[in-house]
């Protein structure tokens, strides 16, 4: 890449700067600035995280006794249904795509905003509306068929199930809109010189995720529409009495919801890929392998939904195909894990809270991934399906993976978002309390499940020390909830006592750290030109054309006079 001809394409649109909003409403409520929308997603998502987390505590209180009388059976069913639905659709997906995606991705590609800012605004405001619809179901009779809402139970469920359909449909449309917006932004609006293989890995992860959101989510919309029509107008799709098929719902639901698993984990992979090289002070190991394995996971992710249906009467040949394809997912995932470990190898590692959560992620996510390979094997799944083993498995992936990724990302980008540092000591307490209590909560579920403890039951048999291990899990979950408070205390602390962050407190090298914290509403005064991947620690920064004040704020290194690295 010659410095003399920086522009790969003309990119005149990159020069466009929105007028600065002046009123409070245009600046913070109905803003079209992707950064503000990202923060709105984060605030809303964390609020729902607290609500859905409290629902989880109700489940754990109930299970402290084998003949639990804390909640009625119906209420218990409603509570775990709402916990799962809210955590998946109102917390993890919006935080990772809408939240971090909107704040970080445009900054990382050197853009001033996403491709369709008004679409972004509309997509965000569907999210709180969907959340209110979902939690409003408690007022009219909450859905109680589990977050998967299998018919025929969901057809007979209380009237709140209609609200559930509407809420998930709405958040699905929002997710599709965000997916389209992000794909166009990433493909069309990168800074000059930022070829696909010079994009930060977080951007690669968002691109793969956006493709999944765009394609898979409309299939869920179809399934939900059919469920809604059947519940409200009696249009037969799923009811076997009228010739429909409950298994049809399972196919349509999992055709979305398995890719949704990757929607929930790929952005977390991206966050980890940013944090590990920064705090190991080493170039990322296997940049291209990490980038392409995200795409591979997204592709294979469309062909494995049947592994959720091994007990639903698939033909053995289909079971075998789904089993093998599911195990294939372990290959690109393993490539990522090995690349991350190799990134750490020999690095000068600094254990900031973000790095602790990223390292914790490596352990807990890998554990959850391996139990996932167990469950992919048909014979194991037939035994473990519907037990606490499955609950343990997906909490290791979704809490130990996605939520740890969210925590890591929050600690990492908090100085960029707010301009203030969080307390490192408090952050370390948060990590260690979370890590220990997380394992205390979900590890016992594995052997409880293998011994036959069913999920979604309000009572259980006290045989095999089941009560003891459930009490261990419950007490750990109370600590887990309390330790999450430390995060919120830390946020409050940073506004009161935190030092000003400066442009680049971590010495990171991606573009967002080259400008002030928080970034100005137009992001970049001048659009930079990118000469190489951002992870070459030890080389000069690969950017030219940044406003000189911006560059000086970020790093004492200067790029002037250095030859451009060739890739």
């Amino acid at each position: 890449m010659a410095v003399a001809t920086p522009a790969v394409t003309a990119h005149a649109v990159l020069d466009h700067i929105h007028p600065e909003p002046t009123s409070f409403v245009r600046k913070y409520v109905f803003s079209i600035d992707a950064k503000v929308i990202g923060v709105q997603y984060m605030i809303t998502g964390l609020l729902f995280f607290v609500m859905a987390g409290l629902l989880a505590e109700l489940i754990r209180i109930q299970l402290m006794h084998s003949d639990g009388k804390f909640l009625s059976n119906d209420t218990y069913n409603a509570v775990y249904t709402m916990h799962g639905s809210a955590m998946v659709w109102m917390v993890i997906i919006p935080l990772l795509t809408g939240g971090f995606g909107n704040f970080v991705m445009p900054l990382q590609i050197g853009a001033r905003d996403v491709a369709f800012p008004w679409l972004n605004l509309a997509a965000f405001w569907m999210f709180p509306v969907a959340g209110i619809l979902l939690f409003g179901a408690f007022l009219v009779g909450a859905p109680d068929a589990g977050w998967t809402e299998y018919p025929p139970v969901s057809l007979q469920g209380p009237v709140g199930t209609n609200l559930w359909c509407a809420a998930i449909f709405l958040i699905g449309i929002s997710s599709t809109m965000t997916g389209i917006n992000f794909i166009v932004t990433i493909i069309k609006m990168r800074a000059p010189g930022m070829t696909l293989t010079r994009m930060p890995l977080f951007v690669w992860a968002q691109l793969s995720t956006a493709a999944l959101s765009m394609i898979a989510t409309t299939a869920l919309s179809g399934a939900l529409l059919a469920l809604f029509l059947e519940r409200v107008f009696g249009v037969p799709f799923y009811d076997p009495i009228k010739g429909g098929s409950p298994v049809l719902w399972q196919h349509m639901f999992w055709f979305y919801s398995h890719p949704a698993v990757y929607i929930m984990i790929l952005p977390a992979f991206g966050i980890i890929s940013e944090i590990l090289p920064t705090f190991a002070r080493k170039p990322i190991f296997g940049y291209k392998m990490i980038a392409f394995s995200s795409v591979a996971i997204a592709l294979v992710g469309f062909m494995v939904w049947g592994h959720h249906m091994f007990t639903s009467g698939l033909s053995p040949w289909l079971q075998l195909s789904f089993m093998i394809l599911t195990m294939v997912v372990a290959i690109p995932t393993g490539i990522k894990i090995f690349s991350w470990v190799a990134t750490l190898w020999g690095g000068s590692i600094e254990f900031t809270p973000a790095m602790l959560f990223a390292t914790g992620f490596l352990i807990t996510f890998t554990f959850g991934g391996i139990t996932g390979v167990f469950l992919a094997a048909v014979p194991v799944d037939l035994h473990a399906s519907g037990t606490d083993f499955v609950v343990g498995h997906f909490h290791y992936v979704l809490y130990g993976g996605s939520v740890f990724g969210i925590f890591a990302g929050l600690y990492y980008w908090w100085p960029k978002i707010t301009g203030y540092m969080m307390s490192s000591a408090l952050g370390k307490w948060h990590f260690w309390c979370t890590f220990v209590s997380f394992n205390g909560t979900f590890l016992p579920m594995h052997w409880l499940g293998l011994q036959g403890m069913p999920r979604r039951y309000a009572t259980y048999s006290p045989a095999h020390d089941a009560v003891f291990w459930n009490v261990v899990a419950s007490c750990s979950s109370f600590v887990l909830a309390a330790s999450t408070l430390l995060l919120f205390i830390n946020m409050w602390w940073s506004f009161r006592n935190g030092k000003r962050a400066g442009a680049n407190p971590w010495g990171a090298r991606t573009l967002e750290w080259m400008i002030s914290s928080p970034p100005p509403y137009y992001n970049y005064k001048t659009v930079p030109t990118v000469l190489a991947t951002p992870y070459d620690f030890g080389n000069p920064l690969p950017y030219i054309g940044l406003d000189s004040a911006e560059g000086a704020a970020a790093t004492p290194q200067s790029t002037a006079g250095h030859p451009a690295p060739v890739h």
């Binding site: 003309a10 700067i17 491709a115 389209i180 917006n181 765009m214 179809g222 059919a226 059947e230």
Partner: protein, 211 residues
């Protein structure tokens, strides 16, 4: 167009028109890409229901058309639907001519062709309404036949309805001078959408009437 422009080199203000043209083209490419992705996600929505229909028909139903209350449901009337399909496909042809005439700035011919498209689209909807009134397959909620037929063709009809509104708005916009012979993103998107609706109907016509 750009409220504040920075970083495009010292001589750009001297070439404001060229710069505006570049911005127009890039904005058009970005919007067109986004619009095509929207159509792709819409295809998935139809595919979900088509999958549901084929799954229920081939895997679940013992025979097709299925029984309802002990009586064999009839097949759909192919002849009428074929005529109605020709009306819709014809509207795709007239839309093509409308677009070509717009590009060659024959505004009078454009008016005629887009009017023809709108009328044919509305006629298709009318034909579909007639067919709904006369299809003796037990109604929307009677059986899986009615469920998949009325839901899928209803969704498609809704798309045609939106398309007719879309074309009316575009026509009104041309009268307001929004587009010219080379700057007509809205018309391009409208044409794409209209052809998309046509293509979906090809699949539905085969699956419900011929298959």
């Amino acid at each position: 167009m750009a409220v504040s422009v920075a970083g495009h080199g010292p001589d750009a203000h001297g070439h404001a028109l060229v710069h505006d043209e570049v911005i127009y083209q890039e904005t058009r490419d970005i919007r067109l890409f986004g619009f095509i992705l929207f159509l792709v996600s819409d295809v998935v929505l139809f595919s979900a229901f088509i999958f549901a229909y084929l799954y229920l028909r081939n895997t679940i139903a013992p025979q097709w058309p299925p029984m309802l209350n002990g009586k064999q449901l009839p097949r759909l009337d192919v002849a009428f639907a074929a005529v109605n399909s020709v009306v819709l496909f014809g509207s795709g042809v007239t839309m093509h001519f409308a677009m070509e005439n717009w590009k060659h700035e024959n505004h009078r011919k454009f008016d005629l062709w887009i009017l023809a498209t709108i009328i044919l689209g509305a006629a298709f909807l009318g034909g579909q309404g007639y067919e709904y009134a006369h299809a003796a397959i037990g109604g929307w909620s009677g059986s899986i036949f009615g469920a998949s037929f009325f839901t899928l063709t209803g969704m498609h009809g809704f798309h045609v309805f939106v398309g007719v509104i879309f074309l009316c708005v575009l026509w009104w916009q041309t009268k307001r001078g929004v587009y010219d012979g080379t700057h007509h993103f809205g018309l391009t998107a409208g044409t794409l959408y209209w052809h998309f609706v046509d293509v979906i109907w090809v699949a539905l016509f085969y699956l419900f009437y011929l298959f």
